[in-house]
Amino acid sequence: MAMAEPTTATLDQLLAAKEIVICCGSGGVGKTTTAATLGAMAAAHLGGRVLVITVDPARRLANALGLAEGFGNVETRVPHELFAESGVEARGELWAAMLDTKQSWDDLVRTHAPDAATRDAILANPLYVNITSRFVHSHDYVAMERLYDIHRSGRYDLIVVDTPPTRNAIDFLEAPARMADFFSSRLLRMLTVPARSRLVTMASRPFYTVADRVLGSQFLEDIAEFFLLFQTMYAGFVERSEAVSRTLADKRTTFVVVSTLEPAPVREAEFFVRALADRDFGLGAVVLNKVLPDWFRAPGTTSVAQRLSSQSTALAEQLPPSLGDPSQVARVLGEVGESFLNFQIVARREAEERSDLARHAEVVASVPYADRDVTDLAGLLALGEHLWRER
């Protein structure tokens, strides 16, 4: 079971006590919007310098942050006037940056390559280009690496991170450890052997026999050369990955699990909550998006809705004729009742899912189903009001 942090009861208190907030959850649950909202609210009400790092935000979110132009790997300040225009006197500064995977990898290579020749050889290697753009886990690792880097720079009081979409929600938690494993592995050494010498040991012979037949020896040599180059960065990479892992587990870091109350995202959220607990990472809050309003479950509504749907004709006759043609009124009443009963089924299921999830975190905040997408900072701040003080 995840331990809720004892001193925090609302999101504003949680954010005020932390330096890094990592928003996670499955795809399509409003993770990016939540991260932007938390960042905007913290900058507006808690003060200090707040940075939101997002991955591939929707155009309108970039617009909402006033960053339509040149929103990239560079950290860009959200204009102070935007807060004023939204009717909020911001106490702090809001900054935003996007994660550019390729750029971040290149920066990493530049940092860790032992010399200019190796650096250039790696950057030009076709496998490197391929791996950094397609390697399934490359997003996850650079996201965490970049976070570590920015946090260490001390430029921000609070960093809110929107995690990249992954096949598996916990991938990015493991990315630093996996990167370290990768560089320390016997397999990497085994693979790089042929490039160093033609001596193939008995132990590795079956591997090469099969590998040669399946992949062709040229390809294997390409891989080997690439890994050999990469290995020159071994020490730097391992050290960094471990530091990144430590940052994730640090008390100053907290995780916010974002979900909707649909069955699949809830399952993923529960899985994530367990994964955090297993790793001793701090679960700060659960944020639920697109939640149906409470009044769908208000007492007495079921029988009213049933009456509307099943006795619509009789009801229509009791109402003033100014409403319109009684048969039309009856149809409207029927639809109203029917629709309510439909949504009520979903609302009841959601309430159940919500109480299941709420067991894990002290702070559970929800955002009602909005019929409009957020298109400006005012929209983000309005969303934030729902989240801010709710328990």
């Binding site: 693979l191 591997f207 062709g216 509504t301 003033p320 039309q328 639809e335 997408d373």
Partner: protein
Amino acid sequence: MAIDLLDRKLLFVTGKGGVGKTTIAAGLALLAAQNGQRVLLCEGDAKGDVARAFEATPLAFDQRELVPGLWAMAMDTEESLKEYLRLQLRLPLIARMGPLARTFDFVANAAPGVKEILVVGKLCWEVRSDAWDLVVVDAPASGHIVAQLGAPAAIQELVKVGAVRDQTGWMMDILGDSQQTGVVVVATPEEMPVNETIELATRLRAETDVDLGAVVVNRVLPELFSRGEEEVFRRLQDPELAAELAAAAEGPVQPVLDGAELAVRLRRTRAEHLDRLRDGVTGTELLYLPELFQRSQGVRATRQIAAALGEELGY
């Protein structure tokens, strides 16, 4: 005229996370099986959602019949590799060696396209085996599917010789043949799913030879009122009528009216996204599935989806 969806041999069902991709894949497979086809449904990741759609125990690499005519399996790259080595290279002994598989897992993780080719290779193998009328894949989400479908071409480019390269040709033939293979993109009429669907349609055309077979629009809300009825609904919300209405309905009527109001507004917003989707994927068949207001996911929901799909496809 494009070929009917279920007359193809291989369907990749994808979409942004949370749109109901697995349920649609399960529904399509079930519909085909109900129509007498012999169907293989393949779960692309190990999350167990396909098994859940049929309330079955977790799936394995070995195929199992879930309902008459519908067989299911879970993709597993290591198992796929072992099978490949056994069948293609006749290397039964080596394939059984644990460390070798681990080594390969490592290469497959690191080298671009290897893992993907093991998945696509297995699927194409099943198609070519003629054991199935239809293979339905609960494929990776829209962000990852292009890499998977493009794997044979990528391998052909990177690997100059070897057994794997030799295999890519016939796989590309199957994938590139719109009579045999199609991608089904699932979207809900919401902003991000629509954006991703349009983007994916563009990328499929630009980066692969695989045909976009259909877009399934999931969770379309019902139209509650005609224009005249909407007028009546407005008048019903008049505060002066509230007491009278509550008396007639014998209880709190306001939340019930608010519920209908929310439904109307949601439908209107979704209609805008739906228009954007239609404009973004012109020429592609769109299948509309209603919001089912389900209690839960499971066999019953899967059957409802299959029935709704059948209605759209004219079964």
